[in-house]
């Protein structure tokens, strides 16, 4: 009886070396039990990073924001730069999990779980920066829209209030999306862990009693589709809103309509680069070559290439528009960017984000994991400096020459910026030890389904 006729062509090419469903479980769930030496080394470094963050931030909380280099005229510096950097990193996770899901991109399955986790932890990291930048972090609840004691409400025309809405919504929705997708895979971890262990109890609680019935899968699939459909416009809106923090003001170098698409493209560009930077060591340490094939990296590299071209176009467009506007302050800011005090930051940005990604036109580069790893680190550095250039150069030379000034990040700021990388990797490393870091169910979905062995029919040769 051949009632199920669909054949192997579904995606054999995606994971040609994976032969059965149980093999997927064995391979991926093994990651949860054997951390290995490298995991402990990286985890130790992250904990040290958190220590640095706690020390630097604690010092700043006790002694005041004067410990940072922020002053008139540059009131936004390394903190806001790194905030935008991490919000940008977050975006590719949602791109891979939601947008590519809607586009039915077959290559997303093995990377999307880790990318989604990266999104959640990157927003958690970004979320620290408004608190750090506040100085008096204990007043952080002032950010939320409620009336003060004289019943005066916040001003909803302000992009900073929009930002609160955008970032908190983004954090909530991406966490829900991430946790919902995890439920069936946690159930798999539950079924495979030894009874009575702490792990088994943890997975029993967090799997919520998932059994994989037709009814559960049916509703799950629909909910996943709707969440993806909601997350797609959300992800585009969040970095647009972040860009409007700048573009809605009249500061030269910020007041441009291209900012929203420019920032969204930059976010995806840096985020996909970060996914590669994270996945290359994971693939190596946990031996996931079967699941993360060259094909996956090639697809991500193409995504970087496309968004990189958009970003580079936006750079050139900004310079052109500054010249074409005929506005003196606008022209001067862009001249100062290239040849002024911060020339080095601008040239790092142009070289890392504009020139280095050109190498991705070559298939040999896209197919070399080592080359991609190095290249994406350059892109991450370049994208941090992009935000630094936008924020600092514009603020340091605004309209009145009398008010110009130079900003230099202080040791406290550098400690906090480096420390939050530890914070991010702390959560990410815990995640790959505690929760299935590759989506088991979705990999199984693209494997050829097991069919009854055919009654023997000898083919004459």
């Amino acid at each position: 009886m051949a009632t199920v006729t669909e054949k192997v062509d579904r995606a054999t090419a995606t994971h040609p070396d994976v032969s059965s469903y149980t093999e997927v479980n064995t391979d991926i769930l093994a990651m949860l039990s054997r951390p290995g030496k490298w995991w402990w080394i990286l985890f130790g470094l992250s904990v040290a990073g958190i220590g640095l963050l706690a020390f630097s931030w604690g010092n700043q909380l006790i002694n005041g924001i004067g410990l940072s280099g922020l002053n008139t005229p540059v009131g936004w510096g390394a903190y806001i730069t790194t905030f935008v950097f991490w919000v940008g990193i977050a975006h590719s996770g949602t791109l891979i999990s939601a947008i590519l899901f809607l586009f039915r991109a077959r290559w997303r399955q093995s990377i999307y779980r880790a990318a989604e986790a990266m999104t959640v932890f990157a927003v958690m990291t970004a979320g620290l920066y408004p608190l750090i930048h506040l100085g008096r972090a204990w007043h952080a609840y002032w950010l939320f829209p409620y009336a003060n004691q004289r019943m005066l409400w916040p001003n909803f025309r302000s992009p900073l209030v929009w930002d609160v809405f955008a970032v908190t919504t983004y954090f909530t929705v991406s966490s829900l999306f991430f946790l919902l997708g995890l439920i069936p895979d946690i159930a798999a971890a539950r079924d495979q862990s030894r009874p009575g262990t702490l792990r088994q109890k943890f997975y029993t609680l967090t799997a919520f009693g998932w059994r994989g019935t037709d009814r559960q899968w049916h509703h799950f699939g629909k909910a996943y589709l709707f969440l993806a459909a909601l997350a797609t416009p959300l992800v585009l809106s969040v970095h647009s809103v972040v860009s409007w923090d700048f573009a809605m003001s009249i500061v030269p170098g910020w007041h441009a309509t291209i900012f929203a698409p420019y920032f969204v493209a930059g976010a995806i560009f840096s985020g996909v680069a970060m996914v590669i930077t994270l996945m290359v060591p994971i693939r190596k340490i946990f031996g996931l070559e079967k699941y993360l094939t060259v094909r996956h990296f090639d697809a991500m590299a193409k995504l970087i290439l496309v968004t990189g071209l958009i970003v580079f176009y936006a750079y050139l467009n900004e310079f052109f528009m500054a010249w074409y506007s005929g506005e003196d302050p606008e022209r001067r800011v862009f001249w100062e960017r290239l040849f002024g005090h911060y020339w080095w930051a601008t040239w790092i940005m142009l070289i890392c984000n504009g020139l280095i990604p050109i190498m991705l036109w070559f298939k040999r580069v896209r197919h070399s994991i080592a080359a991609l790893f190095v290249l994406t680190i350059f892109i991450n550095i370049g994208m941090w400096f992009e935000r630094y250039v936008i924020i600092v150069t514009s603020l340091s030379t605004e309209f009145i020459p009398f008010a110009w000034g130079i900003y230099r990040p202080s040791v406290t700021e550098m400690g906090i910026v480096i420390g939050t990388f530890g914070w991010f990797f702390f959560w990410f490393l815990l995640f790959i030890r505690l929760l299935p870091p590759v989506a088991l169910a979705e990999i199984k979905e693209v494997l050829p389904p097991p069919m009854r062995p055919k009654p023997r029919q000898e083919v004459p040769r």
Partner: protein, 176 residues
């Protein structure tokens, strides 16, 4: 009626065997069928005759609630203390669209998650009577409940597809 029911659970290695078992059971008039799978398998859904899920209602209602909340909140707070800021109108609708949009997405997502938990009947972490740990690994399952006199027939149908494992369930309640 359902108290007199008993159940039988079969685990299969092969997808086509699972689908055939479900189709055969439905042809013979068994309706209380629960299928298990390690991933969303649309052949099984077709065999069980699924169409739409009520989740979409939750998403729609959530989105509309969020939109109404966001818009009324921004409009109300602007009207509550009319203060001209930056020469903009008191009701700066284009600016209010952004919080409204974010609230639409937020409520839509929250309602979707509530809806999916409600419809999937979870959280439910009690000991699972009808289950095989292999269902999250590589096996498919078919569970059917029937009155005691028809159970033998259901069992024969399930057995004819060559199950890897067959379990009888004394309680026979509709667990799915």
């Amino acid at each position: 009626m359902s108290t007199a029911n008993r159940g039988v659970l079969a685990s299969y290695e092969y997808l086509d065997a699972t689908v055939d078992a479900i189709k055969e059971l439905r042809k013979e008039g068994f309706e209380e069928i629960t299928a298990f799978a390690p991933f969303p398998e649309h052949h099984i859904e077709h065999a069980l005759g699924y169409t739409n899920s009520p989740i979409r209602i939750f998403t729609l209602v959530g989105g509309l609630t969020g939109m109404a909340t966001g818009l009324s909140f921004t409009v109300f707070t602007a009207m509550d203390w009319p203060l001209v800021v930056g020469g903009k109108p008191i009701l700066s609708i284009p600016a209010f669209v952004i919080p409204t949009f974010e609230m639409t997405i937020l409520f839509g997502a929250l309602f979707t998650v509530v809806g999916v938990f409600w419809n999937m009947r979870i959280p439910d972490i009690r000991a699972q009577v009808v289950y095989d740990p292999e269902f999250s690994g590589g096996r498919f399952g078919v569970y059917v409940t029937a009155p005691a006199d028809r159970l033998g027939q259901a069992r024969t149908i399930l057995e004819s597809q060559g199950p890897a494992r067959l379990q009888e369930d004394e309680e026979g309640a509709a667990h799915g």
